[in-house]
Symmetry: C2
Subunit: 182 residues, 2 copies
């Protein structure tokens, strides 16, 4: 079944990028083998924010999945007139619900992935996210771009997709990596 997926890697302290919006810290993290291939195979379309687009268009950001994925990309922007064109990318100037509908229709029965913290927050507020797929990295950054910053809201509850109680916390044990240790 096709889903709208919010998919990202977060630091152990709740950041998705370092202060200069860099993803360099991800070089310290390894990922489960298979996740990359799974995402390339199951993603039908991408809906992204303008900041992400500008970074890809200028070469600061790599294309989705390092170029291993190809498919329609939609960028939600109020100013499509000054956006650099990229092959396969369509600019949308509409509300977020309509953008999700358009991108989902183009996904050919596969999943729609939402890229970008601001855009994902808008989708979440509109009840448009079906799944949050998180890779929790064993790194603390101390500052940067937050996963989720919405002061004044009520707590937003999620259900863990496993066999047990969906409201249950996940228990994780870490030891610090000290200088000179692997």
């Amino acid at each position: 079944m096709t889903k709208v997926l919010w998919h990202l890697t977060m630091s152990l302290d709740g950041f998705i990028a370092s202060k200069d919006h860099s993803w360099d810290w991800l070089s310290k993290v390894t990922f489960n083998p298979g996740v990359f291939d799974e995402m390339v195979a199951t993603t039908g379309a991408i809906l992204a924010g303008r900041r992400w687009h500008d970074r890809v268009a200028s070469g600061v950001e790599i294309p989705p999945y390092g170029g291993a994925w190809s498919g329609p990309v939609f960028v939600l922007t109020h100013h499509p007139e000054d956006a650099a064109p990229v092959e396969g990318t369509t600019f949308l100037n509409c509300d977020v619900a309509e953008a999700v509908q358009i991108a989902l229709a183009a996904a050919g029965g596969k999943n729609l992935e939402v890229f970008g913290a601001d855009l994902a927050r808008q989708c979440l507020a509109g009840g448009l996210i079906d799944e949050f797929y998180l890779h929790l990295a064993p790194v603390m950054l101390g500052s940067g771009l937050r996963l989720f910053e919405r002061p004044g809201i009520d707590p937003v509850c999620w259900a863990l997709q496993h066999d047990g109680d969906p409201a249950q916390a996940v228990d994780l044990r870490y030891r610090p990596v000290r200088t000179g240790q692997a």
Copy 2:
């Protein structure tokens, strides 16, 4: 073996308390059965910050593990003279390394738990934490007291204590809990 443990529950977006320093949101979370009993059994002493102490002394905060645990509690404060006395609690006015040493000696071969975000950050900076035991709650708060806020530092790496690669991210899938859904 006795350890210095940083043990807490964090929201999915990196907060440990809501904006008013309340832990009320924890009522939305369930915990693995056995964690509570394990912590009560393995904790020999607690080292806490002044804010936590003031909240316990004034009745805003419940005692450690709801009163199920008993043992020596040490509170690190530069102003012990105006702290409300609590039975079993010793005030320390020294550096954090000495405080950990004193509290660990009182733990009788069991673990020392560090309470409080500021204090834990100081212990971490001093290389005094042996384990970070995290319960990741399926709730986003959007604002509040951060787990870790240290702008300008290099990334702090942790090693996941499991059989696989310690630098590997943990993969977690959540679905949103929508109104009217369990």
